[in-house]
Amino acid sequence: MKYTLKITLTLFILSLFTATVFAQKNLTADQIADKTYNAYKCFGDDRITTAKMDIKDKNQKTIMNREILVVRKNVKNSSKQKWYAYFKKPADIRKMVFMVWKNPKKDDDRWLYLPSMDLVKRLAGSDKRSSFAGSQFVYEDITGRYPNLDKHELVKTDDKYYEVKSTPIKTSGVEFSYYYTWVDKKTFLPTKRIFYDKKGEKQREYRVEKTKVIQDFPTITQFSMTNLQTGESTYTTYSDLKYNVGIPDNLFTEAYLRRSPRKWLKYNKK
């Protein structure tokens, strides 16, 4: 386990190095998109963090807060992932859990646990573009969109960013017509992303507000999504983010939804 990690890390740093110094011009748009996805959503074997969401109205006034324990685990030798979101605040949705098994080839499996009614609901359907808990993020923004769903073009390269235009291959089920990503040439993290609506007008802007290197991984710790057509926005801040803490598989099971992830709620206190 540790060994693989080291290899991955070394490989990654090597690739970073190569990318920045030697192979800048030679990277294809698809390669950049893959690297971005990897840096953005896949680092480590697992990752745990506490996310604070500030949901703001068009006057930039915070109207709702959410505090969520977000856990992600990569399925070994696969591009599958498992996501677990446990709501800590506000008090009236405390213990609510949203769980996703992300599948590259078929619809994701999604569950919602509503504690006060003690209901576990499987969410059917392929729609990944509905709001995440009333925020400006759709849930695909949280779990990440597989790069192979889009066709990518490298539009521009300057000394700091790759500007990539991505157009969905299947247009049904998506509310945007394409999006542009400004990819940091050093970290391959997306720095800014603009979604265009079906009329070709700018619709939503994703921005990275803060990054930090955590356990050698360049990591986004604060980001925002602004609806450019209404002015409403959501700011998310990650705190106590840790990679490779050894999250067990049973956390991501239907049976576990009803249980409080006590151990993981206090991971930051260790």
């Binding site: 509503l114 006060s116 002015g231």
Partner: protein
């Protein structure tokens, strides 16, 4: 009189000055600013308006246009592939009806990211996100045991008839949509199209009309909603103005030609009328006033009054010229006789309108003041321009002018009629008096039947597309008139901290008893609560309590102990949250459901949408669609969890229209079956009644907003204001008459015909059940101003004639000559002249036309019948008093 002599001596100078002033004011007319917003019937600072705007902002509401699609022919109504495909396409078209108005920068937060921040766009037109259409709403459905599906209700048009029926099933399964988006019979769908500003309604509805006119098929398309009615009215009003005002002019012109038979001569009153209108409107625009629905009627009101005096002059001139045979001498004689009555009739008419300045409604004030101004302009022109004009005509051109039929006068229909009246008033004065009294009594009863009501949709004639749409859609749906009722907390008393903490303590102890807690924890908890209780305000109590509980959790020695403290903290936090977020509380949601049921039974309301309805629906679908759960869950957390399930949908922001962001304001969407103000008033009363009989579980206050409500408010203000204005001007006119006649008795006499006229007009309105609406209210001032004219002319000259001849019997012969003819001519010219208004497609214009004709006919008749009879009876009393 000096000015008249000047006009007679230097006619060209008068014409020159007149033209100059007119041209200057005419130059302002292109700067016209039209304002068709009925909200402006209330002044900007009006509290009701401030509340309306504040609540609109709070719930992010917009004005809504309604597009209804009905298919009566297909057995499944609109739920067939073809109709739904059109509806889908129409919705897509509707989304495009917006454009970027401006882009604003957002303040850049402190950040590391140096890439440009995008600007926020502000759109005008359709608010795409809030459009209510099958393709823009979510459908929630349990698809298998334990499995829930959230999806667009109709993302794509149905592929076949079976899918079309599925759309129907989905729509009807949602109480929020039934009777709002879809009719219960499945024949129709309504698309609700919110727009950024009311004044875009006409433009957008025209585009929609153009779009639907491309479609073939069995569907009917209807566009309605108050903003449509109001904006369309504003636009059509100006078209009507441009059609009816000239038509009225032509009618008056033709009639005058019939009476006076001198084309050249009758141009002059036309010129007076036109210039009066130009000057009035020019000044109105020059002074920066917008042309509102009311002020657009100024020309229609100024014209008859402007023509009135000129007709008196021409009528006299026509009668006297054949005797005197010198235009200068004739005009001097005529002007000497008419100067005083004309001055007073103009002053009284102007006073009648100027009195509108005391109403609390800005557009009515502007209207009153400028009509008054127009009347005075008309007066000035009449006494200067008419003599000047006559002087500028050659003596030759007048030579065959006048009473050619003097010898055979008995044959003249009008004169024979007047003679009959003279004989009648001479022989049966008491019967006339009794008859008038009886009529007055009846009129009073009629007035008591008057219904105060207005409805902008009824400003259109029944065949107008807006009226047709209104009827068709309200037949299928719960009503297309939206009124909004906002509920907010209204805490008047400070809650008692002891009471709160006792309630809370029970919940905490209940939890402790269910878990393996130790006695030590119980003791510690009691201490923590006691410490917190030292705070007097609710806020401080809770913050002290949570702080202490967190400390306890941190100090815990074991994981188990810590878990208990954390759980206790969250119970307290939930308590704080539910106390602060009033409308997550089940008992308040239940209460609004009771209110809804009550209102539906009262009859004026067809449908109500609310947060309670949404929560019920979600609760049911979360429980496998089980009807048993079509209720409000019994605790705050469950309500909150139903709501967050909804927030996981495509349009979580739409929740804002039902409840404000902090759940401290609830907005009920009330669909009224009619836009009649009286129905809205009834609904307001029902709600007030409900609150009185059923005190809410928490102190809350309710406030109305929305256009339907605004209309009621200004109507009420207008009716009260009009009454004040009318009574005020009645008094002013009476005082002026007393001054004119230097005798209160004569003044009183003068007021009688107009009082009877107005009583009869409004009595008839009461009897026939015509609503007392804005045009009817405003006409009371016109009635006063016009009706008094005839009495003044009649009485001033009757008194002079009586002074000359010594008795009424002698005087009556001359009184039923020239003066009565002038009055009759006036009546006929103006009454008939305004009949073209009846052809208008807008009801207020018809009303004005009808009422103008009636007022003139009645007041003319009453003047020549009632006044002679009264003079006959009270002759001695009147004369002796005078001397």
């Amino acid at each position: 009189m000096k000015i008249i002599h000047f006009a007679i001596e230097r006619p060209k100078a008068i014409v020159g000055i007149m033209l100059l002033v007119t041209l200057i004011l005419l130059a302002f007319i292109p700067q016209i600013k039209i304002d068709t917003d009925p909200e402006n019937m209330l002044s900007e600072s009006e509290p009701v308006r401030a509340t309306h705007n504040m609540l609109k902002e709070k719930y992010e509401m917009s004005d809504i246009l309604v597009l209804g699609i009905i298919n009566e022919k297909h057995p499944e109504g609109v739920f067939n592939k073809s109709s739904l495909t059109k509806i889908h396409e129409l919705s897509e078209f509707i989304y495009t009806l917006q454009e970027i108005e401006e882009e604003t920068e957002t303040t850049p937060p402190a950040e590391e990211n140096s890439l440009d921040k995008e600007k926020i766009k502000k759109y005008k037109g359709v608010i795409k996100r809030d459009v209510m259409a099958p393709s823009n709403v979510d459908h929630i459905e349990p698809v298998a045991p334990g499995t829930l599906k959230f999806d667009w209700l109709m993302a794509t048009p149905p592929a076949d008839e079976k899918e079309a029926l599925l759309v129907k099933e989905k729509l009807l399964s949602n109480e929020m949509f039934k009777n709002t988006l879809v009719s219960e019979d499945g024949k129709a769908i309504c698309l609700y199209i919110p727009i950024t500003s009311k004044d875009l309604t006409y433009e957008i509805s025209t585009k929609l009309q153009d779009k639907v006119s491309e479609y073939e098929g069995d569907e009917q398309y209807h566009i309605t909603g108050l903003p449509v009615a109001e904006d369309t009215f504003g636009i059509e009003m100006f078209i009507q103005m441009a059609l009816t005002a000239p038509a009225a002019m032509v009618c008056i012109f033709v009639l005058m030609l019939l009476f006076f038979r001198k084309l050249k001569l009758i141009y002059s009153p036309m010129i007076v009328a036109m210039i009066s209108v130009i000057c009035t409107m020019g000044l109105l625009i020059a002074t920066g006033n917008t042309v509102h629905i009311m002020s657009s009627m100024i020309p229609i009101f100024v014209m008859p009054i402007a023509v009135l005096d000129s007709i008196h002059i021409l009528s006299e001139f026509f009668d006297k010229y054949p005797e005197i045979k010198d235009r200068k001498k004739t005009i001097v004689k005529v002007m000497e006789e008419l100067f005083r009555p004309m001055l007073f009739t103009s002053l009284t008419s102007a006073a009648g309108f100027a009195s509108l300045a005391i109403t609390p409604i800005p557009p009515v004030q502007v209207f009153g003041v400028f009509v008054a101004f127009g009347i005075l302009v008309a007066w000035l022109l009449t006494i200067t321009f008419i003599p000047a004009y006559i002087m500028m005509m050659s003596e030759d051109s007048l030579k065959d002018f006048g009473m050619k039929e003097k010898a055979g006068s008995e044959k003249n229909l009008l004169m024979r009629f007047l003679q009959k009246i003279r004989i009648l008033t001479g022989t049966k004065p008491r019967a006339i008096l009794a008859g008038s009294a009886l009529l007055f009594g009846l009129a009073m009863y009629g007035i008591s039947l008057i219904q105060i009501n207005d409805n902008p949709v009824k400003w259109f004639s029944p065949t107008h597309p807006i009226r047709v749409a209104d009827k068709a859609l309200n037949k299928h749906f719960g009503g297309t008139y939206m009124a909004y009722l906002s509920l907010t907390p209204n805490q008047t008393t400070q809650p008692d901290v002891k009471e709160i903490s006792n309630g809370l303590n029970q919940k905490l102890e209940k939890y402790l008893n269910q878990t393996d807690s130790t006695a030590a924890i119980k003791v510690a908890l009691t201490q923590v609560i006691a410490d917190a209780q030292k705070n007097e305000s609710e806020e401080k109590f809770f913050s002290a309590l949570t702080d202490n509980l967190y400390d306890k959790a941190d100090e815990s020695e074991t994981d188990g102990e810590m878990a208990i403290w954390e759980e206790l903290t969250s119970i307290v936090e939930l308590e704080v949250l539910s106390r602060n977020q009033l409308f997550k509380q089940p008992e308040l949601l239940e209460y609004t459901l009771q209110l809804e049921d009550y209102l539906l039974k009262e009859g004026t309301v067809g449908k109500i949408n609310s947060l309670a309805k949404l929560v019920k629906k979600l609760n049911k679908e979360l429980h496998e669609g089980d009807e048993k759960y079509h209720t409000i869950p019994d605790n705050v957390s469950s309500v909150a969890q139903c709501i967050i399930s909804y927030q996981n949908s495509h349009h979580p922001e739409q929740l804002r229209h039902l409840v404000d962001a902090d759940f401290n304001g609830l907005n009920l969407w009330i669909q009224l079956k009619s836009g009649d103000n009286k129905d809205m008033e009834k609904t307001i009363a029902s709600v007030a009644n409900f609150f009185e009989k059923n005190p809410p579980p928490k102190e809350i206050k309710h406030e109305w907003f929305g256009l339907t409500y605004i209309n009621v408010v200004w109507q009420k203000k207008m009716v009260e204001g009009m009454l004040d204005a009318f009574l005020g001007s009645f008094l002013v006119v009476f005082l002026m008459m007393t001054f004119l006649f230097r005798s209160p008795k004569w003044a009183l006499l003068c007021m009688l015909p107009l009082s009877l006229t107005i009583a009869l007009i409004y009595g008839v309105i009461g009897f026939i059940g015509k609503d007392y609406d804005m045009p009817v209210a405003v006409l009371s001032s016109l009635a006063l101003g016009l009706a008094i004219d005839f009495s003044i002319h009649f009485l001033v000259r009757a008194r002079e004639a009586m002074n000359e001849s010594g008795s009424w019997k002698e005087a009556s012969f001359s009184m039923f000559g020239e003066p009565s003819r002038a009055i009759s001519r006036n009546v006929i010219v103006i009454a008939v002249g305004f009949l073209p208004l009846l052809l208008s497609s807008l009801t207020p214009y018809k009303t004005v036309g009808m009422l103008l004709a009636s007022i003139l006919l009645l007041s003319g008749l009453i003047t020549v019948i009632l006044l002679p009879a009264l003079i006959q009876i009270f002759e001695r009393f009147l004369i002796s008093k005078k001397e």
